[in-house]
């Protein structure tokens, strides 16, 4: 086994988010939201925000580091990084990139951030409004195969067909997120519980996804500040130490027109293997998991590909009871996640993973040693991280 240079060397020292809003409801600009999250994360860490010298984001975030550094008066911008790929596949990848910059000595404090004001800008969930379309999208969009939900439902249908899986695992994932959001005052769905009956009666978006299998679309911003473990120990918060991070994509997963050879997959098979290899732990060691819910079907495949159960055990393992904090077998998406806390493209999953390490979650799992995040199933590339005490 090769040496892993970031393992145990880096920690998340500060976290913050703005208030979370319904899509289009943010009262301030996207850039202001982003600044607020970064400034509050520095305050959480107990450091001067001007000491942040590196910036990393993902999914083509519009708030670029040179503008942020200028706005904040940062004296020395030393790392300006974008993780390629859309959706939430880069959340943990941006943390991994930030960690690499810290260990390489490029930067001393790197912030990973995400800002979203979908009223000010376009939405992910809508189809193209163009009159003509070229390239790979020309083989899909003219057939009404346009949105992320539509692109991913066919992968999930194939997986469910291959393994004889029905609707219940998807329902359990959805119910767990809404359940956890009821104890989280930050959550957009706080005070709006979801029952199994509500789920069953909800309309289809695209089979096998009901309305409640799909992420929300929201406004807000979140930020996490990373530094070396040594420096983190001098700051205010208990460090959440990065045990492992991995990013990537399986063989030809981005093949055009739905031609990836392995199709019914969340695209985590090779990434999860490298993640556990770096961490030196097994799935059974994971105390709590935040798994990106663009759609519940992606979470289902992701949990399988991270080794929590075999495909033919999905129906038995993936139950509402097993996903509930504090005592379920695998407490899942304990802040409410993309479905019910806020669709901050998964950065809210990383702040929640840190809260679980600190012991400050609103759905705290007792004695968390290992806290895991899986970012962006079914997109290319995807990424993962594992935090420890």
């Amino acid at each position: 086994m090769s040496d892993y240079t970031i393992k145990d060397k880096v920690a998340i020292a500060g976290i913050a988010e703005t208030a979370y809003y319904k899509r289009g409801a943010a009262p301030v600009s996207e850039f202001q939201l982003t600044l607020e999250a970064i400034i509050q994360a520095a305050a959480d860490a107990g450091m001067d925000v001007r000491d942040i010298d590196g910036f990393a984001s993902y999914s083509n975030d519009r708030n670029d580091p040179p503008r942020l550094a200028a706005a904040l008066g940062s004296p020395d911008l030393s790392f300006s990084n974008m993780f390629w790929g859309g959706g939430g596949g880069g959340g943990s990848g941006a943390v991994a990139n930030a960690s690499a910059a810290l260990v390489a000595g490029y930067s001393k404090y790197v912030v990973v951030y995400r800002g979203l004001a979908q009223g000010q800008f376009g939405r992910f969930g809508q189809g193209s409004q163009a009159r003509t379309i070229s390239g790979a999208a020309a083989y899909t969009a003219p057939y009404g195969l346009m949105s992320p939900a539509q692109s991913f439902a066919m992968r999930v249908n194939r997986f469910m067909h291959d393994h004889g899986i029905g609707q219940n695992p998807l329902k359990a994932i959805s119910l767990a997120s809404y359940h956890h959001a009821q104890s989280n005052p930050r959550a957009v769905m706080y005070g709006r519980p979801l029952t199994a009956e509500d789920y069953d009666n909800s309309r289809w978006i695209v089979e096998p996804f009901h309305l409640f299998d799909c992420c929300m679309e929201n406004d807000g911003a979140a930020a996490v500040i990373l530094t070396t473990v040594e420096r983190a120990r001098d700051l205010r918060q208990k460090p959440a130490i990065l045990l492992a991070a991995a990013q990537g994509s399986d063989y030809r997963q981005a093949a055009p027109a739905h031609n990836s050879p392995d199709y019914g997959t969340s695209n985590f098979k090779t990434v999860a293997k490298r993640l556990y290899g770096m961490a030196g732990i097994d799935p059974k060691d994971v105390d709590v998991c935040q798994s990106y819910e663009n759609f519940t079907g992606g979470v289902m495949m992701s949990l399988v590909e991270h080794g929590f159960c075999a495909p033919d055990e999905v129906e038995q393992f993936m139950t509402f009871e097993n996903f509930q904090a504090p005592s379920g077998k695998l407490p899942l998406n304990t802040s409410g996640g993309n479905l019910a806390e806020c669709y901050m493209h998964g950065l809210e999953l990383i702040t929640e993973a840190v809260r679980q390490i600190r012991g400050e979650s609103t759905a705290q799992v007792p004695n968390v040693d290992i806290s895991m995040v899986c970012s962006g199933p079914m997109v290319q590339p995807v990424s993962d991280l594992i935090l420890r005490k």
Partner: protein
């Protein structure tokens, strides 16, 4: 293969336009002739779809097009209930299928499955290509279940 007189989905959706770099000019020219073609490597004989500038099997840049039968199998499917485009407002539900082509290395093509949008879909069912002409635009490739399953 047969031709469809009307369109499965209403007008107003983005229509295909051949890529400006010429990568798929022949694919769309062929659908106008009501022929289905798949990119095939002249060096190793491997198929790929959508087309690319290099063969992913052997890295040859010498790529051509092979006419195929248009007979395929349903590899996956979905029934869409929520319109994500104004043109689809009154078109839901509709069916999208992903069809694999056994005579082209099992490459897959997405399209709509013609007929009752509420019909039960069985993965593995035999389908055939149906060419759907559009005024002033490229011809789409749709699919219909056959008895050949």
């Amino acid at each position: 293969m047969t031709t469809e007189a009307t369109t499965y989905l209403p007008a107003g959706l983005p229509q295909p336009a051949p890529a400006v770099d010429g990568l798929d000019t022949e694919f769309w020219a062929a659908t106008r002739r009501h022929e289905l073609v798949v990119q095939k490597c002249n060096a190793c004989g491997g198929f790929q779809f959508g087309p690319e500038w290099v063969c992913h099997h052997c890295h040859s840049f010498d790529l051509g097009w092979q006419r195929v039968s248009g007979n395929g199998r349903i590899y996956s499917w979905e029934r869409v209930w929520h319109p994500v485009h104004p043109a689809l407002k009154n078109a839901c539900p509709y069916l999208v299928v992903l069809v694999e082509l056994p005579d082209a290395g099992n490459v897959r093509m997405p399209g709509n499955l013609l007929g009752d949008p509420l019909q039960p879909i069985i993965i593995g069912s035999a389908v055939e290509a149906v060419f759907e002409d559009h005024d002033g635009s490229e011809t789409l490739v749709q699919w219909r279940v056959t008895d050949g399953g």
